[in-house]
Symmetry: C2
Subunit: 121 residues, 2 copies
């Protein structure tokens, strides 16, 4: 049932792999997704939407072409639409993503990092 309460830590326990966002909630046409991440992702951008990163556990670095941002547990960042970014985590890190339904994790690129979309846990 999508309308029951959602325990974020328990949802993370169900995620076995890295860089594959799982949907845990939907609000209008937006989705809340959880992902475990480690090492480098790829440079990409989302041309049609901002994207929110919220760190639940660990340390996430978001590289931009001109600077980088370090996000720890309890910190969030809004990546503006169209802005190239590359997430990175030295150690495994748990993040929440908030963005419109249908956003592909690799943006306009398709490669081995491209995850299946709209997968609920």
């Amino acid at each position: 049932m999508k309308d029951l309460k959602i325990n974020i830590a328990k949802k993370f326990n169900k995620i076995p792999d890295l860089w594959k966002p799982r949907v845990i909630a939907e609000m209008n046409n937006y989705q809340f997704k959880l992902a475990k991440v480690k090492d480098e992702f790829i440079w990409h951008s989302h041309d049609d939407t901002d994207e929110v990163f919220l760190v639940i556990e660990g340390l996430l670095v978001i590289y931009f072409r001109t600077h980088e941002v370090e996000l720890r547990k309890g910190e969030m960042y809004v990546v503006p639409k169209g802005v190239e970014h590359k997430p990175y985590a030295k150690e495994e890190c748990q993040i929440m993503l908030i963005e419109p339904k249908g956003v592909v994790n690799t943006g306009s690129k398709r490669n081995q990092f491209t995850a299946e979309n709209d997968v609920w846990i």
Copy 2:
């Protein structure tokens, strides 16, 4: 600057009052708001949008006409649009709200609980 990283705990330290949501981030036309809450709010609904509650600290109860939901730290709930609800916290509780810009905290009602909208911290 709206585009710097946002530390949720530090933002809460700037909130002096109860039931007055403060905006900390904007994603497209959606806003992330923080509020300290205690005791009873009023029954209300949002006719045009779902509303997400995420508990950052403490215990929040959301009463519905037919049941209630208890949310602890790290738990979230999507209140569907049009559904009457009444938040309650026995002890002071810190919550994050995610919803479209312009949503009024008391929904279609206006009274002493109605907070000024679009106030950033």
